[in-house]
Amino acid sequence: MIEAVALTKLYGDSRVVDGASLTLDAPGVTAIIGPNGAGKSTLLSMIARLLPIDEGKAFVDGLDVTRAKGDELARRISVLRQENGLLARLTVRDLIGFGRFPHSKGRLTANDHVKITEALAFLDLEPLAERFLDELSGGQRQRAFVAMVLAQDTKAILLDEPLNNLDIRHAVSMMRLVRRAADELGKIVVVVLHDINFASAYADRIVAMREGRIVVDGPVEAVVSEETIEAVFGLPVLVREIEGQRTCLFRR
């Protein structure tokens, strides 16, 4: 479904993403972790054609993302950046409705309305449906944008730090939602996460980046270990199995 082959992004002389290759075929949750500036957002943006690719290629469903038509891609892959929506005095419902744009081009059908209602319910947004985005809290706005992406109903979903601004309850429910999207709806979800324990608890696979390169790529057990995390973040940590879950702890 998603195939990135040796993707590279150059800013001047610095290779902020450097020969990153990634294949995602099966439904599931893949977490991308890595320190600030590792190139996570840049990699996601190239795959989702938000940034031009300097070297390498990216395919979605066999379509070359630099050549395929915008709306064909928009029915297959959706992406949510770290910050969104500049002129955004739209109601939550209107915003989610725009998620259907690739399918309906603005003329919402009965099916579109069903999808909108589902997305509202999935993210617990019904009470806020008629509120303007610029009158919501950061976390509520974040959820509205995720709902928009969900209404877009694509097989692949890329989320760049969806837990930004979320309190612990909504962070957990966002990750559960991501799991459900993978398990019940068969989506291929890629999430950039900063909290390794969230990655460890909810992801099937973890991709770790450092200085533009993918340094580790494997199942949770293979990645969440003291040596690997220290190598990726340059920080000594303790990893313990707690209630069957790999958990990362920090020394004082």
């Binding site: 938000l50 038509k69 992406v79 969104n84 500049l86 005095r89 209107d94």
Partner: protein, 323 residues
């Protein structure tokens, strides 16, 4: 209130204002004359040749300028811009000067097209500048626009001074309906048609307002939509500059007030913005005819005063962080 009722009410208000506008001004014409059946040839001529065209011109210019302002704000994802604060209008004026210098005998329509070309070039410079400087929101965007507008205006002044066209430039850069006569304002209908096009493509412009990333994610050909919108904005600016001259602030104040009340969904607000812009400009023109009767204050002056006061109030109320 439902949107439909709001629009009907707005149109009704416009119609009333239009009738008032027909009977205000120097010259002998009052509603009573008509109702008494005493409408003689002179009065009828005054009505058809001057008052009706003048009132229609104000409506058309107001509606299209307000829509142009809204588009400009969506396309640059910033609430504090409009064609006359980013160089579009000034570039249209420069275009009129240049084309008048080179081809003085060209028909107004051709001059208007040349002005639109200049306006488009000026607007693209503005968009390229704010992208290059990575300005997304806040007040830097309108500041850069004002500087660019100032530079273009200075160029126009310089050329006009050399070519002895300062008086014409004055007419193009300061809106005034007192010279509007039948046969001299009809280009403004193009502005209304362009407003209708904007309504037709409203969803795309709303998406563009959400920024490039969200637009591209939803499959919108973002650059093409922006370019298309800028062509509409430039044509509207050129049409108004060529016929009645620039009117400041309409494109800033009206969309801001409307979006504050109704949000940014273009499909809902484009008609409301058009009606409000028409009402505001016609209202200001009527006011300009009453205040110092029998003399007139040009609409550009009235709008400049009223608009800047409203705009300052808006600046104080709206959070620039949200662009």
């Amino acid at each position: 209130m439902t949107d439909r009722r709001l629009l009907s009410l707005g149109l009704l208000g416009l119609a009333a204002l239009f009738v008032v506008s027909l009977f205000v001004g120097a010259g002998d014409l009052s509603l009573a004359t008509i109702l008494n059946g005493q409408l003689d040839g002179d009065a009828l001529r005054l009505l058809l040749v001057s008052r009706v065209p003048r009132s229609a011109a104000a409506l058309l210019a107001g509606a299209s300028l307000a829509v142009a302002g809204l588009l400009m704000q969506m396309l640059s994802s910033n609430r504090f811009v409009e064609p006359s604060t980013v160089g579009t209008t000034e570039a249209a004026g420069l275009g009129m000067v240049v084309v008048t210098l080179l081809l003085p005998g060209a028909p107004v329509f051709a001059k208007m097209l040349a002005a639109a070309g200049f306006a488009l070039a000026g607007t693209f410079v503005f968009i390229a500048l704010i992208r290059r400087l990575r300005l997304k929101s806040g007040l830097m965007v309108p500041l850069v626009g004002l500087i660019l507008a100032g530079i273009i205006q200075a160029m126009a002044h310089f050329i006009a001074y050399r070519a002895d066209l300062l008086q014409s430039l004055g007419a193009w850069s300061s809106g005034d309906f007192s010279m509007v006569l039948k046969g001299r304002y009809e280009l403004l209908w193009i502005g209304l048609a362009l407003g209708a096009v904007a309504l037709f493509a409203a969803d795309r412009f709303t998406l563009a307002g959400l920024g490039r990333d969200v637009s591209v994610n939803l499959g919108l050909a973002y650059e093409r939509v922006v370019a298309f919108g800028l062509v509409i904005v430039s044509l509207i600016a050129a049409v108004t500059v060529a016929t009645i001259g620039a009117i400041p602030f309409v494109g800033l104040v009206v969309p801001n007030l409307v979006t504050m009340a109704m949000g940014d969904n273009g499909r809902r607000i484009v008609p409301v913005v058009a009606i409000s812009g028409a009402g505001l400009v016609l209202g200001c023109d009527v006011l300009g005819r009453i205040l110092r009767y029998p003399y007139e204050i040009p609409v550009g002056v009235i709008m400049g005063v009223a608009g800047s006061v409203i705009f300052l109030a808006l600046l104080a109320r709206r959070r620039p962080a949200h662009g």
